[in-house]
């Protein structure tokens, strides 16, 4: 089942990339997608079937503009710090706790954290802690840091992934 989903996804991406309907292109795409699906189907998350649900897709669509807003804010923040003559940075590595449980949810949270204001995921542990490099440390307490960094995404990601 996972192989089939992966095969269909790979083939759709192949068709979008080549963007032409032609017997040779389609046959090549089928062969390549089949090989890829056989070899790499394990990278799809175990709980993949739950994603085929309109509610999750709706929240995923809502998440896109929210995410882009935070990303733009992050960029302006970094630009400000990079261009300011005194370079107002106060870096450090803090530890935060996430309430998300699924692997895909934690992955999405880690990636969201990396792309948004002043934070970069360095490592994560099996019991739900993340180590975050923070360019402007406001608090080194686990609870408070989690509040600052992760809460705003967790609400959305729980709706999408859990």
């Amino acid at each position: 089942m996972r192989r089939l989903i992966y095969f269909v996804l790979a083939f759709i991406i192949w068709m979008l990339l080549t963007w032409q309907i032609d017997a040779q292109v389609i046959i090549a795409g089928l062969i390549v997608s089949a090989i890829v699906a056989l070899l790499f189907h394990e990278i799809l998350p175990k709980e993949h079937l739950v994603f085929i649900s309109p509610i999750r897709m709706f929240w995923a669509l809502v998440y896109v503009p929210v995410f882009f807003y935070y990303m733009l804010k992050a960029n302006l923040d970094v630009v400000y710090r990079a261009l300011h003559p005194k370079m107002p940075i106060k870096p450090g590595i803090v530890k935060i706790k996430t309430t998300l449980k699924t692997q895909s949810g934690i992955t999405a949270l880690a990636n969201s954290i990396t792309l948004t204001p002043g934070t970069l995921t360095v490592d994560l542990t099996d019991d739900g802690f993340l180590y975050i490099h923070w360019i402007n440390v406001k608090s080194d307490d686990i609870e408070q840091a989690s509040e600052f960094i992760a809460r705003r995404f967790e609400w959305f990601l729980r709706k999408i992934f859990e």
Binding site: I13, L16, L17, T18, W19, Q20, M71, L72, A74, N75, V78, V79, R81, A82, L83, M87, I89, K90, P91, G92, I93, V94, K95, A110, N111, T114, L115, T116, G118, T119, L120, T121, V122, D123, Y131, H133, I135, V137, D140
Partner: protein, 109 residues
């Protein structure tokens, strides 16, 4: 009209790329540099690609551009995470003015 929107997107994207590179040069250590390079360069490049897609209209070029944008959005933070973890594992120290390092405290335990 679409041309103008596309060019504006491309110009903003290039500006973010430039600022990201300035940050890359000015920040003091690996981790801060990663911050600048991942954030600014990701958004800058995505805006460039979206600008290209807007100018060229629906077709082969815009499909490729949008797919590339999505891939960059997924892979760039993952790569940054891998570099940061690798740098830490190989013993690259934080900047001496860093305020806190919970990761080192955890390793010592």
């Amino acid at each position: 009209m679409t041309d103008i929107i596309g060019y504006i997107l491309i110009i903003i994207g290039i500006l973010f790329d430039i600022f990201g590179c300035i940050g890359l040069v000015r920040f003091p250590d690996v981790y801060n540099r990663l911050q600048a390079s991942t954030k600014c360069v990701t958004l800058g490049t995505i805006m460039l690609l979206v600008g290209v897609a807007v100018i060229s209209g629906l077709g082969a070029i815009s499909a490729k551009a949008v797919i590339c944008a999505v891939f960059i959005l997924i892979t760039s933070p993952t790569a940054a995470h891998a570099i940061a973890k690798g740098a830490y594992a190989s013993g690259v120290a934080l900047w001496e003015k860093s305020v806190v390092d919970k990761y080192a405290e955890e390793e010592e335990k």
